[in-house]
């Protein structure tokens, strides 16, 4: 197990449809992502707890691209991962944010 933390700045304040949203399940090759509104001085904070050790650089790249797609401010993203591939991670991130902003789970 490994815990990775990332922080992004320069995002835009958002107007979420719900205070928090969850996507995915903590199962093999999958992950759960919890997105919550939280005053973080404009930051978007990401914490990843992952069963697959040693993939920090890939998480960084995946999250960089995610933040470029969704520059969120004052949002906390918490992830429990069981070795999901980057494709699945990106998909779940988009699903979680869509539910968070659009209110459709």
């Amino acid at each position: 197990m490994e815990t990775l933390k990332f922080e992004y700045r320069g995002g835009r304040p958002c107007n979420p449809a719900q205070a928090s949203a969850l996507a995915g399940v903590v199962g093999s090759g999958n992950l759960e992502i919890l997105v919550e509104q939280e005053p973080l001085n404009g930051a978007c904070a990401v914490e990843v707890v992952t069963a697959a050790v040693g993939f920090g650089a890939i998480w960084q790249a995946v999250l960089d691209d995610f933040f470029a797609r969704h520059p969120l401010a004052d949002v906390r993203i918490s992830i429990n991962d069981v070795g999901a591939t980057p494709a699945v991670v990106s998909l779940r991130l988009d699903q979680a944010v869509n539910a968070f902003l659009g209110g459709t789970a």
């Binding site: 399940v25 903590v26 919550e36 429990n80 991962d81 069981v82």
Partner: protein
């Protein structure tokens, strides 16, 4: 969202079975009430510990509901998971809803916290009986990918009814456990037709272990759950004596049967071999009046 109950996640099942937008979760993921034991064993934990509990409405009636997420550790019961279920059942004693719905999907006790899980399951058992004793029906929905086994298999049969799909399974020891312990000759867990014939929804319905067989669709489970709201729990001595007589008869009539097909034939089902191929509606027609 998928129409299939089998494919849906626990959250999707709750949303589809209960009245639209009526479900309100207690201790949601953002509360982060998680298992501390998994982390200790270097195993990923989930924000909801694999069970969602809360209040909602079914056909306009207030209900409490819990849903186990099979995708997380096969829905296995750990300390927190079990405590959420116990707490929900006890809440029913205070709030007196029309019914409690258990959307089960569980391999039983979570081995990473086996003792806590086992004790929790027995607390769930006591709590289910207390809720029924208070006159509130407890309704089980069983149609997930991991079935309902171990202690949860006992819990399910403590409730007022089990609504099951053909894909749903209900038993005590999983086929893999039996194969590992007793050998492949005893139970070939890879013979999935045999597995489903033995512990699957159709056999459970014919045996009287499940109350109703429904198609694998969230809408079908919802409709059956609404019908089940009318049940009145009966934990009287007379009721248990009736059940005792039925279970005794089951051993007498089917104790020597080698395969489910033998039991179905003994029940008077014509062409029992074709039962596994029938859709739920046809199955219900063909087997009407022939259930044990």
């Amino acid at each position: 969202m998928t129409q299939s109950y089998y494919e849906a996640s626990a959250r999707e099942r709750l949303a589809a079975v209960l009245d639209p937008s009526s479900f309100q979760e207690i201790l949601p993921p953002s509360a982060r009430v998680m298992s501390p034991h998994l982390r200790q064993l270097d195993t990923p934990a989930a924000f909801d510990d694999g069970i969602i509990v809360g209040e909602g409405r079914l056909d306009g009636q207030p209900v409490l509901a819990a849903a186990q997420e099979g995708g997380f550790m096969g829905g296995a019961v750990g300390e927190v998971h079990g405590a959420k279920l116990v707490g929900l059942l006890e809440r029913a004693l205070d709030t007196r809803p029309t019914a409690v719905l258990l959307l089960v999907e569980s391999g039983g006790v979570r081995l990473h916290e086996a003792n806590a899980g086992l004790i929790a399951v027995s607390e769930v058992m006591r709590a289910v009986l207390a809720v029924r004793g208070a006159g509130i029906p407890v309704i089980v929905l069983d149609g997930g990918q991991f079935g309902c086994f171990g202690g949860m298999g006992i819990v399910a049969r403590l409730c007022d009814t089990v609504i099951i799909s053909e894909e749903g399974r209900l038993g005590l020891s999983g086929p893999e456990v039996i194969e590992t312990t007793c050998g492949v000759e005893e139970f070939d867990s890879r013979d999935r037709a045999l597995v489903w014939r033995t512990v699957g929804g159709k056999h459970r319905t014919l045996l009287g272990e499940a109350g109703e067989l429904v198609a694998d669709a969230t809408a079908a489970f919802r409709a059956a759950a609404i019908r089940a709201l009318a049940l009145t729990p009966d934990l009287s001595l007379e009721a248990l004596e009736r059940e005792h007589a039925a279970l005794g008869q089951r051993i007498e009539r089917f104790g020597e049967c080698h395969d489910a097909v033998d039991i179905w034939r003994a029940l008077g089902v014509e062409d029992p071999e074709r039962l596994p191929l029938l859709e739920a509606a046809d199955f219900n027609t063909v087997t009407a009046g022939k259930r044990a």
